[in-house]
């Protein structure tokens, strides 16, 4: 683990622009090794103006997100499944 590595919490701010539910507790399935982790458990590297999230088991890139002023780019090819917790007042389905 690199001393500059952070955890997925650091991506919460930028991901809040895209996802309404709280993302640090969203669960990702790694497309490479299958490990299921909450976003907060992933390894994050901040490469301004973006964030890279890597699998804490196999180090593969799960998610890349970048923001520049009023545009964002999101690459989630490394996530085979994303599970979100909806806030309590959102149970209409």
């Amino acid at each position: 683990m690199d001393a500059t590595a952070l955890d997925g919490n650091v991506a919460a701010g930028i991901l809040a622009h895209i996802f309404y539910p709280e993302m640090t507790i969203a669960a990702t399935s790694c497309a490479h090794c299958g490990a299921v982790r909450q976003l907060g458990e992933l390894v994050a590297y901040v490469h301004a103006p973006g964030v890279i999230l890597r699998c804490s088991s196999c180090d593969a890139v799960l998610l890349r997100v970048m923001q520049n002023r009023n545009r964002m780019w999101l690459d989630m090819r490394g996530v085979s499944l994303l599970q979100l917790e909806l806030p309590d007042d959102d149970t209409s389905a």
Partner: protein, 201 residues
């Protein structure tokens, strides 16, 4: 009208002058930006290869062979897409012209391949003509791992993300393909003088 904090100066920097590309700030330190853990590669295992589009190997150097090639001292200004510029940085490295000299190719593009699955694409014309090096020394010392050591690509006329850290080879391409950052929204070419930071710039 953006909120301004009176009295906030931020890291020491000079305003852009004619010598510095638009939107950049000159800094004295050397910030580290990374997309993964710093690779720690043994020099015994290091090699640099040039391959064609199909992956067939056209040239290869081990570290010892690489060190035996003629190298140059380069002084250059470097410009990061995150807006910092460092003037007069000093490097030593082997010119990419030298690495490509034995190779007969009609490829128009290259993809630099590096550790951590990091890639970046460039027109072949931009790594020829004394514009690109594989650098292994910075400021008279061995290039540190957090700055891309043992060797990184150095292409100072483009934004510094094109100067791939931990470079291990070049793949010659007939058709351009976007690399790691180019496929996420960074500009495909990256000319700091035209402020080509992101797609569409």
């Amino acid at each position: 009208m953006p909120f301004v904090n009176k009295g906030f100066h931020g890291r020491p920097r000079q305003p852009s002058t004619g010598l510095v590309p638009p939107g950049q700030y000159v800094v004295d330190d050397f910030p580290v930006l990374t997309a993964g853990r710093t690779p720690k590669l043994s020099l015994d295992l290091w090699d640099f290869t040039i391959t064609d589009e199909s992956g067939a190997r056209l040239a290869r150097w081990t570290w010892d062979q690489f060190q035996a090639l003629p190298s140059e001292d380069i002084t250059a200004d470097i410009h990061c897409v995150t807006k910092w510029t460092k003037l007069g940085t000093r490097w030593s490295g082997v010119s990419v012209d030298k690495l490509l000299s034995g190779i007969d190719t009609e490829a128009n593009f290259v993809m630099a391949l590096a550790e951590l699955d990091y890639t970046t694409n460039l027109p072949i014309a931009d790594v020829r003509g004394n514009q690109a090096w594989v650098a292994f020394e910075f400021d008279g010392k061995e290039l540190a791992p957090e700055h891309g050591g043992p060797a990184r690509l150095l292409v100072p006329h483009l934004y510094f993300w094109k100067s791939a850290k931990w470079v291990r080879g070049l793949r010659l391409l007939n058709n351009d393909q976007p690399g790691f950052w180019e496929s996420l929204g960074y500009n495909n070419y990256g000319d700091p003088w035209r402020e080509q930071r992101y797609q569409g710039d």
